[in-house]
Symmetry: D2
Subunit: 448 residues, 4 copies
Amino acid sequence: VGAQLWAKDLPLDAAIHRFTVGDDPQLDLQLLSWDCAGSAAHARMLGEIGVLKSEEVQSLLVELKRLYGAALAGELVIDPRLEDGHTLIETELTAVLGETGGRIHTGRSRNDQVTLAQNLWTRDAVLRIQQALGLFAADLLRFAQNHRHTELPGYTHLQRAMPSSFAMWAAAYAEALIEEIDAGQTVLARLDHCPLGAAAGYGVPLPLQRKRVASLLGYRRVHVSPIDAIAARIRHGLAFCEWTASIAGVLERFAWDLSLYCSTEFGFIALDSAFTTGSSIMPQKRNPDVVELLRARCRQQRSYAFELAQVGSGLPSGYHRDCQLSKAPVLRAGLSIQELLDVAQRVLGAVRINETHCSGAMSAELFATEAAYVRVLAGEPFRAAYRAVGQELASGSFQRPPSKSVQASLGAPQRPGLELLQRRLLRANKAARVAAQRIDQCMQALWL
Amino acid sequence: VGAQLWAKDLPLDAAIHRFTVGDDPQLDLQLLSWDCAGSAAHARMLGEIGVLKSEEVQSLLVELKRLYGAALAGELVIDPRLEDGHTLIETELTAVLGETGGRIHTGRSRNDQVTLAQNLWTRDAVLRIQQALGLFAADLLRFAQNHRHTELPGYTHLQRAMPSSFAMWAAAYAEALIEEIDAGQTVLARLDHCPLGAAAGYGVPLPLQRKRVASLLGYRRVHVSPIDAIAARIRHGLAFCEWTASIAGVLERFAWDLSLYCSTEFGFIALDSAFTTGSSIMPQKRNPDVVELLRARCRQQRSYAFELAQVGSGLPSGYHRDCQLSKAPVLRAGLSIQELLDVAQRVLGAVRINETHCSGAMSAELFATEAAYVRVLAGEPFRAAYRAVGQELASGSFQRPPSKSVQASLGAPQRPGLELLQRRLLRANKAARVAAQRIDQCMQALWL
Amino acid sequence: VGAQLWAKDLPLDAAIHRFTVGDDPQLDLQLLSWDCAGSAAHARMLGEIGVLKSEEVQSLLVELKRLYGAALAGELVIDPRLEDGHTLIETELTAVLGETGGRIHTGRSRNDQVTLAQNLWTRDAVLRIQQALGLFAADLLRFAQNHRHTELPGYTHLQRAMPSSFAMWAAAYAEALIEEIDAGQTVLARLDHCPLGAAAGYGVPLPLQRKRVASLLGYRRVHVSPIDAIAARIRHGLAFCEWTASIAGVLERFAWDLSLYCSTEFGFIALDSAFTTGSSIMPQKRNPDVVELLRARCRQQRSYAFELAQVGSGLPSGYHRDCQLSKAPVLRAGLSIQELLDVAQRVLGAVRINETHCSGAMSAELFATEAAYVRVLAGEPFRAAYRAVGQELASGSFQRPPSKSVQASLGAPQRPGLELLQRRLLRANKAARVAAQRIDQCMQALWL
Amino acid sequence: VGAQLWAKDLPLDAAIHRFTVGDDPQLDLQLLSWDCAGSAAHARMLGEIGVLKSEEVQSLLVELKRLYGAALAGELVIDPRLEDGHTLIETELTAVLGETGGRIHTGRSRNDQVTLAQNLWTRDAVLRIQQALGLFAADLLRFAQNHRHTELPGYTHLQRAMPSSFAMWAAAYAEALIEEIDAGQTVLARLDHCPLGAAAGYGVPLPLQRKRVASLLGYRRVHVSPIDAIAARIRHGLAFCEWTASIAGVLERFAWDLSLYCSTEFGFIALDSAFTTGSSIMPQKRNPDVVELLRARCRQQRSYAFELAQVGSGLPSGYHRDCQLSKAPVLRAGLSIQELLDVAQRVLGAVRINETHCSGAMSAELFATEAAYVRVLAGEPFRAAYRAVGQELASGSFQRPPSKSVQASLGAPQRPGLELLQRRLLRANKAARVAAQRIDQCMQALWL
């Protein structure tokens, strides 16, 4: 135990070993179950083309299923001497099954094996994130519905501009997140190319049935080119990380709004005290740290794509060990965005609106544009109406027009379009669920 | 002429004016035709809801069509005093049509107007880039077909690993680019939300028919939330820029390979002399500068998304002038990637393969894995076969196995799967073309 | 005219030519005068070691001085057929001086020539930026002095925390900028290695007097290693771009504060109307666009270092044409930060403080920490005092302690330390001026 | 135990608590000893101004010294319920010293306390990195000396260009690293502003002797502005991270060269077998994984500055919890670059030069420039000589000029300037050592 699979009895400098192993023993805990699943599909296919005997396949499936369960239950530990999780699995199989364990790597390289496990992990992460997006978007629409008539100044340039409402505010984030659910489908489409059979990047001189493995694992396409299958690990990882950063971009603005709105000066909201912290020096403070950390973590979320782009560029084709460093940013991006969505959703639940402050802020100049349009509907050209209202404002004679005179377009405070957004959300959720179910069925059938 | 639309007769510091205007007069030349198109749709809708009279709509359409043509022909110039292209168009309309020109801005803000023009420009750029991707991918598959039997070492860790071929090499890039054509569809899906009617970000107190405008401009969805419609300008721009960076990531590796392959040491290819440059000091040099610039420009392509992410973050909701700086990176990213695709395609046409060097590099150790698999097919477990071949190599007794003994899996040198990739390319091209035609028809019908 | 210096009568694809030339004809206008200076020093040294005759040196210096003046006066234009500015200069010299013009490139390659010109340009930019920093810091200290007694709430977590003042606020930016003046010295120290003589990166087989050239151009060190002299172009460019980004980070916060402070809700300041703009739809708006653009441009300023890091990495040693793309980000970073410093300084001059709003915002809880410290000075442990004041605040019995009871530490509102900062500014300015004068004298002596 | 110092008996959502605590309990292990040192200096000053009694100071120093030792020995553990390391220290002090422990936080906020600890940690990291740079640069110069006559082709555009040598190659990296030692001095100069007394960012209403604390901790300056002292945490962190990235940029190219040189095609070097790894599929492979990981980690090193720039921007002045996320990238950048320098140095020791391959690659065209200069020294203008040699090369009549005819400039293969570089290294090392010793003496005197 402990020898690298490729060792040829040569000493390896201990510091260098630690350096090359890096964080893999910890990161690979995320990948172990997916490695078992990939191995199961590979074993079944090897049986079907006669490379493995039927009883070998059966015993491998039994062991892999056991390890799969242990991995999901968090019961496996990766000794740094074993380098990574893939070695752990193969070592375990060989320990129990002897020579049969040694046959599982037939027609496979560490390169396509790792790429497959990372692809499967990422695919699963997309599905989980889509689900979290759906739940938070639903909460936002519910919040919008509940605060349909709570007016709020709309700001441009941080200056009071036109009337808005908490319904409009929450609906904005809901619509953005619905778009992100749909965007997740594309990440899935990129990932939907099974890399197994790419081996080290130049295919395998064995008559593998690559389409069969793909189908067992719920893929609709084989990644035909072995060279690109290996290269795609970076490209697919980037698409995933960038998607999580796009989601984080939405949440960042959400958090910034909350930070601003709970200042004394704006004062539109407060957070439940369980969501604020104190100061070590100032007795009076209740700080919205959670909102600020959410905001900063959202900006930090971009780092994963950045890091991945750095390690993944500057290289000719073919596998280089550089690519191994693509694993950490992908896994961390996926785990981080799930935490951020969870926190954002909890924070929304902790928002308490200060209605008095909100209505107190609805000063007359917010209605200047409405007044101009009342004139337009009465026949004035817009530029003339604009100037006339401007003069009223300057002379102090301006008054808010009666609200019954206003007919609004879709999306405006009077017509926030919540039902339309609700329908879009249901449609987006359904598409995501269909994909998830199809994949789920494949994964369950894998062990039969 | 020269007064800002919003001017209230206050002096504006000249240096500050130049600073706020920035590059808009130059960048907006790209957007002028799209601004005309957006205005045409807006005018038609205003006519339909009775805000403009039928003859006003007609005269606006005539003028807008004229300006649209002039913009496409590159005949318009934006005076910095006019600030930007939108002011130019409105100024021209007012000069010709008088008060009617002043009515075109009814129910619209500069914010949604700019967002619309940028969205339309970006949508068009996606379609053009998809087309360029399709052409280059076709060339790559043709190159692969032509060099189907040109062997080449496959490298991992820059060490000779397994047999490859120029067909495999080119097919790898083709497959990656086909994926990018499909990924373009998602960028289109994000963009497919018409922002007009968002006004300054809080909607319009007028009964605009937003769905009608959307439909006239070939959109299938209205961007319901005015707040998010304005915010989406950054998010959509990022998705576009990141897509172009993903394409560039493929081209970067392509260029790196060429750079390496035309070194004396590798020597697999040469470039047509029209594609090389000399040295100002060394008489013997013919340098592949174009390949190196292509490679560097591909890494630079990431800068657009970076710049956009910087200017677009760190802000609460609502329009801030910061957002204006999103225009340059989006336009430059689109123009740049089109140039890079064009250059890459030309460079591929200038590649001359040195067959002698290629076959000379096919040393025996490249076939070690094949030899191991010949043993596996004869019943040895893989790990045992691996060790046996390793000993043959160490003792110098290793010999390349007879090639007739090899059965390859899909993607390997013997079965590069070019036909399958060709079918996928046709399918991807067709989907892109359908989208392009639908949009094209709308844009033509707009002026009727 | 028009042939590249290295041309060997081979056709060059026109699109490829345009691609390889890129933005050089425009960017090189910045470098022309520095190229002349570098050539003058090189010519003088060649004369001293006998490679050029004395009269050749004289005629070259006369022509170079003429071109130097024309370049500074903006009278030179670079035809894209000439590729770049270095070719322009050499072409001009040859046109006037015939064979003598052809001798100027002796012992030099385009690589070290370009590196030298970029180094000289950057060195000059550092000196200019240091000067601008000094001027703005002085304005900030003057502003602080003028508003020494204008109280302002100090915020943490955007919550009112402790008393602050406009003097403290402006002094913070002054101190940060003084640090940046000093940091400029390091950029200068990095740049202070003369690259000429590195040639293409492997030195020159001629007995050049590299130290003499260095000394003529005001360098204190020769860049000994030709390989590193070429590589350093990226490293030095990065140090410069990162320094400009660090300055921009200070200005960004300055701009964010102004944006926040001129909102209705905070209302601490207004900007002169010449520094605000209107809205195309909302008659009441006066927007601080300039402050927002300043803020966004400061975040964008990071893009230059990013772009440079991308094009400059992923490569083995030796010159690659990739490096050519380092020019644009360095020049643009330098020009941009000078504009930002100028705009920030003008904006500071346009700030009008609303004293009423400021003092109105000095609510009692800002003094809670003071109250706790009054107890501490009376002997209570801090944690106990903290809890006692907390209870007073909760029960509504809290009162602001009398201000005469407060003794403050350096930097606090009562002791902002303006004189100390003023002394540090003078010292930093002096160090920068000494460097500038030494270099200036060398550059003037060059033409004698 | 376990209550936050600021707790006011309010429940805190558990998931939110975990989110706000983040990685602090792990990261703060790095900072504990520095927090003890900062507290010791603070306590001594509080004693000197009479806020603490002499015996209180003594008992605090005894406890802090014990905790300091325990921290350095890795014996402290931070329970997540305690939030962070600062709370651990204060909790321990209070447990042992009772009310006296509660007095240590007098005149201090968590903000300046954390900033101080991070500043002290970073300062120490700079000194360690400078030392590692000095050791590696010395090894490189020794390597250069040992291989002074090992010729190697010099490449530009990856094409053979001019003669080089392994001495030139190693000297290039040495010179770059010497520059980095000097650049470290600037990072130190930025850090050399003691933040203690900034409190929450607005100073302290107590007559603290800030200069005394600064001097006890080895600082030469007080950070006068409390606002900027807090903001500088980001700016100083960035300067540090960017410095480490600049070093990594040098190491990246070093690693890329090694990767290229140990390919079969170049074949200039091999690595000791202890520094190579095998393949799980290809029996013949010995891969330089360590060199590739080094290269990738060097590109990844840029991520720390990126991450820090993201979390640190987009904010008005004053402390925001966002800033807390600055800690991780700074600490990780410092630890990572030390590992990379160590690995690079070990790798250099494992390089075995293949002299036969090197001399075999010294083909005639490498000497074309030399031949042109032989003509120049005989009186031909350079451009004419350039063309004449070009014609010899084209006609096949070219011959390498006799080496005795060549006089080289400083830095060229014949005069690599190793002694000059050695002198510069000693000077840089000495400057770094002087700084280190001064600081070391202060830190030791602190506990007296």
